[in-house]
């Protein structure tokens, strides 16, 4: 069944404590070439029918209204997952 992917990231100016904890852990592993890590969210919405532009528009609206809080987050991607790159199919 088709899947629509929505990706949300904390806004650049918002402190991301999770990301900071991870970059600190990387430094402790000796991986100090990474100066910053930011952690976002990926939503996968499975739909019964075909994905058309109207449905994508509806998901874009939903992403701004509910999946993300645009005070602190940006919706960085909304689109249909391509079957070739779908993971977890083992």
């Amino acid at each position: 069944m088709p899947t629509i992917v929505v990706e949300v990231m904390p806004k650049a100016e918002i402190l991301d404590p999770q990301g900071k904890a991870v970059v600190g852990a990387l430094a402790r592993l000796g991986k100090d070439k990474f100066s910053a890590v930011r952690i976002g969210k990926r939503f996968e919405l499975t739909v019964e029918g075909p994905v058309d532009e109207a449905l994508l528009a509806e998901v874009r609206e939903l992403a701004e209204d509910m999946l993300a809080n645009t005070v602190i987050e940006d919706v960085v991607f909304v689109g249909e997952a391509s079957t070739s790159s779908a993971c977890g199919g083992s």
Binding site: P10, E13, I14, L15, P17, Q18, A21, M66, L67, N69, V71, I72
Partner: protein, 232 residues
């Protein structure tokens, strides 16, 4: 005078809020998130807890609960609405209050008896205080860092919508030490610390004169009662 307390799945402090309302001298009314009915209460409290396990974002799913349609309508009519901790997060998610909350800057859950300064004593929930009063009520949160963009911070500071500020310790990295805010009209107030846990001697925060004697939270509820009495 009837003050409703809404229970959401995962609310923890709904009964404490009801008890605080009773101690203050009003009648608490239990309300349910799944109803479309405020039972004609005079004021509404959204209590603390971890509604829906803080899934998605703290308060995000609860802010779309059925009863929130009635809460938003009541808030826009001027009914006093208080959001405590998770309730504050819900009011921000519902856009009834400015700003948003993120994980505490230090990444840890924190619980402490917190000193606050009352910055605006003209709201429906603070009229029994004086501006500049320092109070102590318990604080306990993981996602308590108040954030907003620069323009919003400047606007709410200018409008007097910053109602409470942390004193001595900023426990979560909130911008401008902001602990609580109101809407422009002043009938909707939200804060991270818990006034309902400081309403009865023996069960409140430690105070300089005696352990667990703090009752500074009581005046939140008597303020709302005074605001309602003045309107009636």
């Amino acid at each position: 005078m009837r003050i409703g307390v809404i229970t959401f799945p995962g609310s923890l402090d709904d009964r404490d809020a009801a008890r605080a309302i009773r101690i203050a001298g009003a009648e608490p009314v239990a309300l349910w998130h799944g109803d479309h009915d405020l039972h004609a209460v005079d004021a509404v409290v959204l209590p603390g807890g971890f509604s829906y396990g803080d899934y998605l974002r703290a308060g995000a799913i609860a802010s779309h609960a059925p009863i929130m349609a009635e809460v938003i309508d009541a808030a826009n009519r001027g009914v006093p609405v208080l959001g405590i901790c998770n309730g504050f997060q819900m009011l921000a998610e519902a856009r009834l209050l400015p700003g948003a909350h993120t994980r505490n800057a230090h990444q840890q859950f924190i619980r402490r008896d917190q000193k606050l300064r009352v910055e605006n004593a003209t709201t429906a929930w603070t009229s029994e205080f004086a501006t500049g009063d320092e109070i102590v009520i318990p604080l306990k949160n993981a996602d308590g860092r108040f954030v907003a963009d620069d323009e919003t911070i400047a606007r709410i500071e200018g409008n007097g919508q910053v109602v409470f500020r942390y004193v001595d310790v900023n426990p979560n990295g909130s911008m401008n030490d902001i602990a609580g805010v109101s809407n422009e009209r002043g009938n909707v107030v939200g804060l991270m610390p818990h006034p309902e846990h400081a309403t009865e001697p023996g069960f409140g925060p430690d105070m300089p004169d005696a352990m667990r004697s703090g009752t500074d939270g009581l005046r939140f509820f008597t303020s709302a009662m005074a605001a309602l009495a003045a309107r009636a």
